[in-house]
C-alpha cells in the first residue's frame, strides 16, 4: 500500500462528477427543479392580475417584473443547494477530498444554474409573450436573464454555504444575497426596458457579462471558505 504510485483523479473529473451527480439527483427528484419554475410563472402572472395595467404599461413594466420573479425563484431554489449534502455527511467527504474545494463549489453552482437558471431562461419567452413583448425584446431579455442567472447562482452559492448549517437559514439567505444581487437586477431589468424603448442597450449587456466573469472567478473561493466554516 505505498502511497506514492496511486494516481489522483484530474480536476475536470471532479468538476464533471459533481455536476453529473447533482443532475442525476435532480432527475430522480424532479420536484426540486419544477417548483421554482412554477413559482416564477406564478409571480410573473400575479402582476397583470393584481395591477391590471394597460397594454403599454404591461409592456414597459414587463421586464422589471420578469426579472424580479427570476431573482425570487433563484433565491427559492438556493436554500437546499448544500442542505442535503450537509445532512447526509457528503459535505465532509467533499471537503476532505483532494479535489480543490473552490472547484467543487463552482461545480455545485454550475449544477444549480443548469437546474434553475437555464429553465428560467427557457420559460421566460412564454411570460414575455403574455406581456405582449415584441420578438426582438424577448431575445434581449433571454440574454440578460442567462447572464444574470449565472451571477445569481454563483452569488447564491456563497449565501447558501454561509447559511447551510443554520436552522433559520432561508429568510437569512435572501437577506444576505439580495443587496449583493442588486447590480445584476438593476442592469438586467433596465437593459431590457431600454431595448423596449429602442435606446442603445449594449452597455447593460457588457456590464452583466463583466459581472458574470467577476463572480465566476471570485465567488467559488468565498463559497469554499464559507463551506469549511459552516461545516465545522
Amino acid at each position: 500500500m505505498s502511497g506514492q504510485d496511486r494516481q489522483l483523479p484530474g480536476l475536470m473529473e471532479g468538476f464533471i462528477a459533481i455536476v453529473r451527480r447533482d443532475l442525476l439527483l435532480a432527475w430522480k427528484r424532479p420536484g426540486d427543479v419544477l417548483n421554482p419554475l412554477f413559482f416564477f410563472a406564478m409571480v410573473a402572472s400575479l402582476f397583470p392580475l393584481a395591477a391590471a395595467p394597460s397594454p403599454e404599461q404591461l409592456m414597459l413594466n414587463g421586464p422589471g417584473v420578469v426579472w424580479v420573479a427570476a431573482l425570487l425563484a433563484t433565491l427559492l431554489s438556493l436554500n437546499s443547494l448544500f442542505l442535503s449534502d450537509f445532512e447526509d455527511g457528503s459535505l465532509d467527504q467533499i471537503i476532505l477530498s483532494p479535489q480543490p474545494l473552490p472547484l467543487l463549489g463552482l461545480g455545485k453552482a454550475a449544477a444549480h444554474w443548469l437546474l434553475s437558471g437555464l429553465p428560467l431562461v427557457l420559460v421566460s419567452p412564454l411570460i414575455a409573450v403574455s406581456y405582449r413583448m415584441p420578438a426582438d425584446i424577448v431575445g434581449v431579455m433571454m440574454l440578460t436573464l442567462a447572464l444574470g442567472t449565472v451571477s445569481l447562482s454563483l452569488l447564491g452559492a456563497i449565501g447558501a454555504a454561509l447559511t447551510v448549517g443554520l436552522n433559520r437559514g432561508n429568510a437569512l439567505l435572501s437577506l444576505l444575497i439580495m443587496p449583493l444581487a442588486m447590480p445584476v437586477l438593476i442592469f438586467g431589468a433596465r437593459t431590457v426596458s431600454l431595448a423596449a424603448t429602442g435606446d442603445p442597450y449594449a452597455a447593460g449587456i457588457y456590464f452583466l457579462a463583466a459581472y458574470c466573469m467577476l463572480a465566476l472567478t471570485l465567488a467559488p473561493f468565498a463559497t469554499a471558505a464559507a463551506l469549511k466554516i459552516s461545516n465545522e
Binding site: L162, L166, P179, M182, L194, A203, I229
Partner: protein
C-alpha cells in the same frame, strides 16, 4: 512604533490602552463637531439655491462618509481576522457593524430631509447617493442578521467575515450600477454635495464636521470593541482577574 502596535494587538493591553484613549477621542470629536456646527450653521455663507437649507450637508455628508468608512473598517477587520486568525480583528468587525448601520440610517434620514424641499417628496429613487446608501443599510442588516443567527462566537466571526469581504467587493459595483441607472432615469436632481467648488468658508466647517464624526466614530468603535474583546476572552485569566479582583473571591 511596531512594539506599540504589537502590544495593542494583544487583548489585555488593548483593553487597558483603549480605556485611556476613548475619552480623548470623545473630547476631540466633540470639539471638532462643536466648531463645525457653529461655523457651519451661523457663519458659513448661505447657498444661492437653497439658502440656509443647504446647512444640512454639515450633518449629511459626514454621516455618509462614516457609513462608508465603517464598512471598510469592517472589511479590513474581517480580512485580518480570517487571514491571521486574530480575535481582536473580528472584535473590531463586530463592533463596527452596528455603528456603520446607525450612521447609514442617519445619512438616509438627513439626506431625505435635505432633498425634501427640492423633490417635494421624502424619497427620490432617482438620487444615486440615497439609493446606494439604502443598499448599504441592507448590507449592514444582512451582516448583523448572519452574526445573530450563529450562536458560536468564533464561527459567527468567520462566517460574517466572509460576508463582509464579499460585500466590500460589491460596494463599488452597487454604487456604479445605481449611478448608471439614475443617469438614465434623469440626471437633473443630483444633490450638489460640496467639494472643491465650495466657498472656503463653507468648506472648513464641513471638514471639521467630518473629522469630528470620524473621532466620535473611533471613540464609539473602541468602546464597542472593548465589549466584544471582553466577551471573546471570557475564559482567560486576565478577564477573570479583571472581573473578580483577588479580594472579592467567591
Amino acid at each position: 512604533m511596531w512594539s506599540f502596535l504589537h502590544k495593542l494587538a494583544s487583548p489585555p493591553h488593548f483593553y487597558g490602552i483603549s480605556a485611556r484613549m476613548i475619552p480623548w477621542f470623545y473630547a476631540a470629536g466633540l470639539l471638532a463637531v462643536a466648531y463645525g456646527s457653529v461655523a457651519g450653521l451661523f457663519y458659513a455663507p448661505a447657498d444661492e439655491e437653497m439658502n440656509d437649507g443647504f446647512r444640512i450637508i454639515y450633518v449629511h455628508v459626514p454621516a455618509a462618509f462614516i457609513s462608508m468608512s465603517a464598512y471598510m473598517v469592517m472589511a479590513i477587520g474581517a480580512g485580518i481576522g480570517l487571514i491571521w486568525r486574530m480575535k481582536l480583528a473580528h472584535a473590531v468587525a463586530a463592533g463596527a457593524a452596528p455603528l456603520g448601520a446607525w450612521f447609514t440610517f442617519l445619512a438616509l434620514i438627513t439626506g431625505s430631509i435635505w432633498g425634501r424641499p427640492m423633490w417635494g417628496t421624502w424619497w427620490e429613487w432617482g438620487d444615486p447617493r440615497l439609493t446606494s446608501e439604502l443598499l448599504l443599510l441592507f448590507l449592514y442588516f444582512g451582516y448583523m442578521a448572519l452574526r445573530a443567527a450563529i450562536d458560536d462566537t468564533a464561527k459567527a466571526d468567520k462566517a460574517s467575515a466572509v460576508l463582509a469581504l464579499v460585500g466590500a467587493v460589491n460596494i463599488p459595483i452597487i454604487h456604479f450600477s445605481v449611478e448608471w441607472w439614475t443617469s438614465l432615469h434623469q440626471g437633473s436632481t443630483l444633490l450638489k454635495s460640496g467639494g472643491p467648488a465650495m466657498h472656503p468658508d463653507m468648506l472648513y466647517p464641513l471638514l471639521a464636521m467630518i473629522l469630528g464624526f470620524a473621532l466620535l466614530f473611533a471613540a464609539l468603535l473602541l468602546a464597542r470593541v472593548r465589549t466584544e474583546v471582553l466577551h471573546r476572552e471570557r475564559r482567560t485569566r486576565w478577564v477573570r482577574d479583571l472581573i473578580m479582583p483577588a479580594g472579592e473571591a467567591a
